[in-house]
Amino acid sequence: MSEETAAKQALLEERSRALFQDSVERIDMRTRSRLTQARHAALEAAERARPRAWFMRLPVLTSAAGVAAAMVLGVSLWLHAPVAHHGAVSADAASFEDLDIVAASDNSQDNVEMLQNDLDFYAWADKAAGEEPSA
């Protein structure tokens, strides 16, 4: 590049830079205010996006842990809940069923007597078993 060309280039650079800087300084107040607002919004966004220390997140962590524990408990209760199988009836349920049959039948008086006899028999058998060693 010749000296003359370099000088012309430098002149162009200098002049355009000065003009640009001048136009920057003439930016109106409304635009300046909007730029300031945009800057503040950006700084707030940076603050929100910043990763926080664990102790700053403690309330959130505690709530999250509570929710997680409740969910685990709920799932475990659901998975281990007793399942009612058809045909398999527990002892208590059978006793109630017997009483229902006795009460619901047509000759209920006979059935009640039969049940009473059974009870008498079991009482006697129990007593006899208690006396057996002395015999």
């Binding site: 930016i27 950006a42 220390a53």
Partner: protein, 205 residues
Amino acid sequence: MSGFGTLTAAWMVADGPAPATRGVVLEQTRALDKFLAEIERRAFRMAQVALRDPDDAMDAVQDAMLKLARNYATRPSAEWRPLFYRILENGIRDLQRRRTVRKRFMTWLPGPKEDPDHEAQDPLDSVADNAPAVPDVLMQHQAMQKLEASLRELPARQREAFMLRNFEGLDVAETAMAMGCSEGSVKTHYSRAVHTLREQLGEVW
């Protein structure tokens, strides 16, 4: 409050939330504020030169500020300037692309054709200003308009290289980082831009 909660609260009051970290965060926020305040007007004017529309320029600058603050605030401050201009140039390109699509779409629509770039003129703008025009200011304003028009006619990469190097004062390496290209490409784009501008603006400008 549970025992654990009381203990935690007492510990936080006694120790405070890690003062060193807080100090670093405050310092970083102040540095970012200072950086953005320093470049915001130049960035706005550069976006305005490229986009013409001041509202679009404002959107581009605001978006660049937000993205820089959200994603790169923790990066070393020396990297902020090229990163900011890279985001800004990408935003400008996106807006220009959207405008092109909008223009094409508008040509397909029936009815009177309206240039979406054409700003709604404020009637007050056409009212003659009675204040005496200061010749120097007027001449500078005209010269700047001429420069802006010439810059808009440049290919986008040449315009970017010229504005980043000459207006923003980035060095070749920073410009290359901002433009996402090699330093050699920056030199080529810049040299071509200067050559074209000299031809367009003439010797007297």
